[in-house]
Amino acid sequence: MADTERVPTIIADNAHIIYRIHGSIGPHQSSPLSSFKRLVTRQKSTAIREVHAVKGASFVAYRGEAIGLIGTNGSGKSTLLRAIAGLLPVERGGAIYASGQPSLLGVNAALMNDLSGERNVTLGCLAMGMTPAQVKEKVDDIIEFSGINERGDFSSLPMRTYSSGMSARLRFAIAAAKKHDVLLIDEALATGDAKFRKRSEQRVRDLRAEAGTVFLVSHSEQSIRDTCERSIWLEGGVIKADGPTEDVMKEYETFVKK
């Protein structure tokens, strides 16, 4: 589209992201005495540990791009997406700039397990900022798309009775019901059976056509190759490579096979 002037939608400038984890108490620290000793000696509590998940990521994403994020498990891909969405704070010294409000499409969106699928759809849509009228309009479409009613009326049963595939499909269906300016997709394509995957890939393509920029985190090389022309390879929180998908994939594959 705008080849003459490329419009940036996401700019990451030396972004560091640190998780603080409470309650990771080791076997030798569980006695009251050792806790007390720690307080007296002013030692930093080991119950609060810091995980430096992303170490200084810098890149620019432009409108019309689809960018794949690859890397081994625990390399900071999902964390980076959450920071782009503004859900996790970036440490001082760096920043992530975004146009509009990027939306994260993840399969981890926690919904309430004790409620029926239908109420979760309502709740999820409202949490994404839809009006009750829009929600009413969309509920049936979302349930239909998720396909949870293919084996009887499951949408009125509590979500804790769903299989993991079913609840993942419902979550994806909820998240994909909204149009997004910048879309961040986290492993969403890997959910469900082959039939659902086909449908969801089509939905992602539709969303992509409407969205300015798409980020995709996936372990499926095929879906990255199919949808993304540019890829970023993260390893241990550091960007190892950033460029055309083919080149980055090759580097990544040689790294993994080692």
């Binding site: 080849d3 419009v7 940036p8 939608t9 996401i10 700019i11 990451a12 400038d13 640190i18 998780y19 603080r20 984890i21 409470h22 309650g23 810098s58 890149f59 620019v60 432009y62 019309g64 791009e65 959450r82 920071a83 782009i84 969405a85 503004g86 859900l87 996790l88 704070p89 970036v90 920043a95 992530i96 700039y97 975004a98 146009s99 409000q101 990027p102 939306s103 994260l104 993840g106 981890n108 969106a109 926690a110 309430m112 004790d114 409620l115 109420r119 309502t122 709740l123 999820g124 409202l126 949490a127 994404m128 900022g129 009006t131 509590p158 022309e229 540019r230 950033d242 460029g243 055309p244």
Partner: protein
């Protein structure tokens, strides 16, 4: 789509300049307080639905379901009746002690349950916070809303008890509406306050039961308020009489009961209640808003 882009390292404008040129905002920027309030208002339907969802989730797997909303305060009143009315027979100090006691128990219980659940409003919903974008104040506010809805059932039970123990109905009863409204504002502020504190200070949860117990004894719930004037004076009495929950309890007793000795004149009590509601309501809101962007960190 044949655009390929190789951006290993770009030269030219710095990231900040580039961001400013194209009008990009920092992801996770703190909105101004009016802007935040507007966002929160736009999410009012979510807050309401989240509150109802919480109630159904909590009662959904019980056999009696929603009946518990009425049963809980009834059983609560029954327990106190057996202990104080039958076993200890504390009737001689105050006229209509049962109604006096129940008003205290229910009004104190309202603030107590908001504080107890509010402490976990943020730390208990980290999954939701890390997955979706919404003004985080929705969470403590919906907790205050859940308890406000439970309070309506409790009030019905309380009114039945008061009537049953022989208090006459009069126009003064309508005063319970503004009194409960002020308490609800106070509670919402308190919920936001403790939820931000609880999100950082996980140890607070362990302390809450003790804090609440001290608060209970300082709120003239189980014994008449005249006990304080008899035994305390100076700053200790001043502290006790400024206790917001004591003020709310006294207002309800004043509204529902005929011959009741209050801690102060009704005018003074109403002023105190309004000041507490405004200070804690607005203060709690502003305090919660300041931390808005850090809640995802855990």
């Amino acid at each position: 789509m044949a655009q390929t882009t190789v951006v290993e390292s770009y030269t030219g404008p710095t990231p900040q300049e580039l961001a400013r040129k194209y009008g990009l905002g920092t992801a996770g920027r703190l909105p101004s307080l009016p802007e935040y309030t507007r966002q929160l208002w736009a999410y009012r339907h979510f807050i309401w639905e989240f509150a109802s969802a919480k109630v159904s989730a909590a009662l959904g797997n019980t056999r009696l379901g929603m009946i518990w909303q009425v049963l809980t305060p009834l059983i609560n009143a029954g327990v106190y009746y057996v202990i104080f009315g039958v076993l200890l027979n504390t009737k001689r100090d105050t006229d209509n002690f049962i109604a006096y006691l129940c008003a205290g128990v229910f009004i104190f219980g309202y603030t107590q349950s908001v504080v107890q659940t509010g402490v976990q409003a943020v730390s208990g919903n980290l999954g939701l916070i890390r997955a979706l974008h919404f003004p985080r104040a929705s969470l403590p506010i919906s907790i205050a809303l859940v308890e406000a809805r439970n309070m309506i059932a409790s009030m019905a039970v309380l009114i039945a008890i008061v009537l049953f123990t022989g208090e006459p109905i009069n126009w003064q009863w309508l005063l319970i509406i503004p009194a409960l409204l002020l308490q609800t504002i106070f509670n919402a502020g308190a919920a936001m306050l403790v939820s931000r504190l609880g999100s950082k200070l996980h140890d607070l949860r362990q302390l809450i039961p003790f804090i609440m117990r001290v608060w209970l004894y300082g709120s003239a719930v189980l014994y008449p308020v005249t006990k304080y004037t008899e035994h305390l004076h100076g700053w200790k009495l001043a502290v006790i009489e400024a206790n917001p929950v004591l003020v709310f309890i006294e207002l309800i007793r004043h509204a529902l009961m005929e011959n009741v000795t209050l801690a102060g004149s009704p005018m003074l009590l109403w002023t105190e209640a309004a000041v507490w509601a405004l200070v804690v309501g607005i203060g709690g809101y502003a305090y919660f808003w300041r931390g808005e962007k850090g809640y995802g960190r855990g």
